[in-house]
Subunit: 313 residues, 2 copies
């Protein structure tokens, strides 16, 4: 799957992933109204609204991008009905040929981590059969519990040729509280990065490992250091756009081959219709998916320009 993802990135010329994190407040009113008229103001109604919103956006951008990243929290908040919408979204994105990164940030120990791994990436045994459950292509994993929490995911990744992105240095303001703590002269996130490189050595695709990392766009200096520590790990970079990360901050996350990073934008794409820049071009609530498409094109250009400028300098 890492090979497929790298190929798709090159084919679309877009080291970009669209975060399908549909807060209900992003969903245009006409979609909400229609869903509520059918299912009421219930979790089922919210789940339907979210699903219809996702579908329109996926239809509008799927030819431009290699991958999507649904954030499961935004579905889980609506309980079982929300989880059904998550599943529908994953399946639909697969039908559209997209790689699906489940942003689930799971992590537990031993057989429990394995249960998460089979549920999200693998197959679960039921009697004499092996069944898929959520069946994403990649999942994000929290490393706080150490190797015991991560290796069960890697075991499943090897069986299924899938992948993970381990949280190393997250994009949020308080990520330093624990991740930046200095030990033996280096911050914790670098030690986590070392482990990511070690875990990843054992499961290489053609050029990149099945084991990637999450490093926030908001921390370009740390990204530069981590790029060197984990040369074979694809870095998933959140924090672009709405969280403050800019194209020029991103160049440090890439390798010299122009690859090695995939940048996520969620709100900046899926709620682009709320931005004045797109409204001024006539893209409003009614044709929200057009705004999402325009925002993907703008993001592609921003990153391509930044990479080109970096190459020159």
């Amino acid at each position: 799957m890492i090979n497929q993802l790298m190929e798709k990135i090159q084919k679309t010329n877009a080291p970009i992933v669209v975060g399908l994190d549909p807060m209900l407040s992003y969903v245009p009113e006409h979609i909400q109204k229609k869903a509520f008229s059918e299912y009421g103001e219930t979790p089922a109604g919210a789940a339907e609204a979210v699903w219809q919103f996702n579908r329109a956006i996926v239809d509008a951008v799927c030819d431009l991008i290699p991958a999507v990243k649904p954030q499961i929290a935004m579905y889980e908040q609506f309980g079982v009905e929300g989880v059904k919408a998550f599943q529908k979204t994953v399946d639909y994105c697969h039908d559209k040929g997209l790689v699906v990164i489940g942003d689930v940030k799971r992590g537990d120990i031993g057989s429990t981590s394995e249960a998460y791994a089979v549920g999200h990436l693998g197959k679960v045994s039921v009697g004499n059969r092996r069944c898929t459950a959520f069946d994403e292509d990649f999942a994000t994993v929290n490393p706080y519990l150490g190797s015991d929490g991560v290796l069960p995911f890697i075991k499943v990744c090897k069986e299924e040729k899938k992948g993970i992105f381990v949280l190393v240095k997250t994009s949020n303001p308080s990520s330093g509280e624990f991740q930046d703590r200095m030990t033996d002269g280096r911050p914790l996130y670098e030690w986590v990065g070392e482990k990511v490189a070690e875990w990843g050595k054992d499961c290489m695709g053609d050029s990149y490992s099945y084991v990637g990392a999450v490093v926030g766009a908001t921390y370009p200096r740390q990204g530069k250091a981590l790029r060197k520590i984990m040369p074979k790990s694809l870095i998933l970079v959140p924090g672009y756009g709405a969280q403050g990360g800019k194209g020029k901050d991103l160049v440090h996350f890439f390798n010299k081959d122009g690859l090695g990073a995939i940048v996520n934008s969620s709100r900046g794409i899926i709620a682009a219709y709320k931005q004045e820049a797109y409204q001024a071009k006539g893209m409003t609530e009614e044709n929200f998916a057009d705004a999402s498409r325009a925002a993907v094109l703008d993001m592609k250009k921003d990153i391509a320009d930044a990479l080109a400028a970096a190459k020159k300098s």
Copy 2:
């Protein structure tokens, strides 16, 4: 809810939580067969088996204990059908008067963590209504992302009078890889413990805080240190029994009031019928729930004896 939990612990005289982590291999064959005959060897069949297994165990032990801790990974592995069984289990345990600790180990940033918090502990807004989703009483939370990941949970806890247990020092062998890293002369888990105490100050129940901590029974020395760092936090202690923790290891996790810790056992209770000790007493696969009841009684005695011995010495 922390007050209710503390009262129930005292009333049952059992600082015990039963982990409802039903691996399919724990579920007796006759239950699996019945479920598969109805739903096939499918995720729906597995979910039905797990739910029937849980129900029988809850019926057998609910008068002896204050709380249960379903591990959501064991349900999530069966996809949407599994998540439905999780919801049924939570609801049934509530009907039986039990406090429900959702072992979900969630943690993300900002609005995403808030989505997890409302989904598991609070109410989600849909149109003009506020709906509950999973509606557990407590949830476990991963602290790797810092305050940004935890404070949204605390906000919801305050609104709903619910609680969280933050992972501080986990019970697994490799927990030290990152959690034990020394910074400014102290291991990381102590810094996390300091934060737990700080977060918890602001939301106190009568004697304990809404913000508890997870510290593994397998690390009694560390438990002793953390008990002092977080005097007002209830400590949820996994790792008893099957993972190697013993009654005498547990005394350090308690305060002098005989309270302050709640010890989890999962496999040791729910799969007790597989142990020779209970089989010798005629408790086998057919009457597996009787073995679970006997195992709860034995665990209560083990902990009570250890606490009494510690008081004397």
